[in-house]
Symmetry: C2
Subunit: 167 residues, 2 copies
């Protein structure tokens, strides 16, 4: 994917099965490189998170697992999520208390999340220019930035279109 291609989440039509498959394959690869264990539970949790481009809460994941017969308790899911977040496979969106699959796993990065307040879809940008600009501004005041999380709320293309059509 070119560096500034439009995030897949913002494309109305896309092969989402492909999103999931790619994410799982990339995750397996990342874990292999890091010598981390990509267990069935972790894999399944990641897969659930990737079911859509809308962030999913820990208890939402629990519900899905419960419906499958497995009846895990909260710590089980939180531990899997902690692992996935630590390995950079999943991001937590603090303002939503929810998790979303990372579209650039493997490399360390500070993302910008575009949250549609209409449909809930979240797309991830990775504009290093923004991060370095902030880092520079902060450094000017003596503050040493180590990580940045940016959450933008607005309207995604699909919802903007729908809104225009409806009026």
């Amino acid at each position: 994917m070119p560096r500034d291609a439009t995030p897949t989440a913002l494309k109305v039509h896309h092969d989402h099965d492909r999103c999931i498959a790619d994410a799982l394959a990339a995750a397996a690869e990342v874990c292999r490189e890091l010598g981390a264990r990509f267990t069935p539970l972790r894999r399944r949790v990641l897969e659930i998170v990737w079911q859509s481009h809308k962030p999913l809460g820990a208890y939402g994941i629990l519900d899905v697992l419960a419906a499958e017969g497995r009846r895990p308790m909260p710590p089980t899911v939180y531990r899997a999520l902690d692992f996935l977040v630590a390995k950079g496979l999943v991001h937590r969106i603090p303002s939503l208390n929810a998790f979303i699959g990372c579209t650039r796993p493997g490399r360390r990065h500070d993302g910008q999340y575009l949250i549609c307040h209409n449909c809930g879809t979240v797309a991830e940008l990775t504009d290093e220019g923004l991060n370095t600009a902030l880092g520079k501004a902060a450094r000017g005041h003596g503050f040493a930035v180590e990580s940045v999380l940016t959450e933008a709320v607005g309207l995604c293309p699909a919802c903007a279109e729908r809104r225009k059509t409806a009026s």
Copy 2:
């Protein structure tokens, strides 16, 4: 205050009573302009939030009020906070589930929060350039940004100094 002055929170020595007094005065003024009621409870909650430059959780505020004899229930505090946030007098830091006094009340703005992971101090920047840059990048993908919240974690000047000295 000049547009790019170093946030007071990052200054080791400053007259914090002045911070509080200024914030309360500014809040009264903002409420007057908006025709909103700056009730004793709201005023007291704002004052408590301003006790330091470290964000304070709703239940922390509850504890302070409880120690004063008043024994409010959670909704009371959350409503006061909702009001203060809605009027732009207080910001919520989602990753900390906590609230901090706004240093630029009155004008609508999207801030960048510099969170020290050592002492917990949070300073607020307001770099409109960063926001417009993000808005532009998002717009390029068809996403219409309406508000942005940026949380940067790192080391504040005081803690960086302390760390250097200690080693």
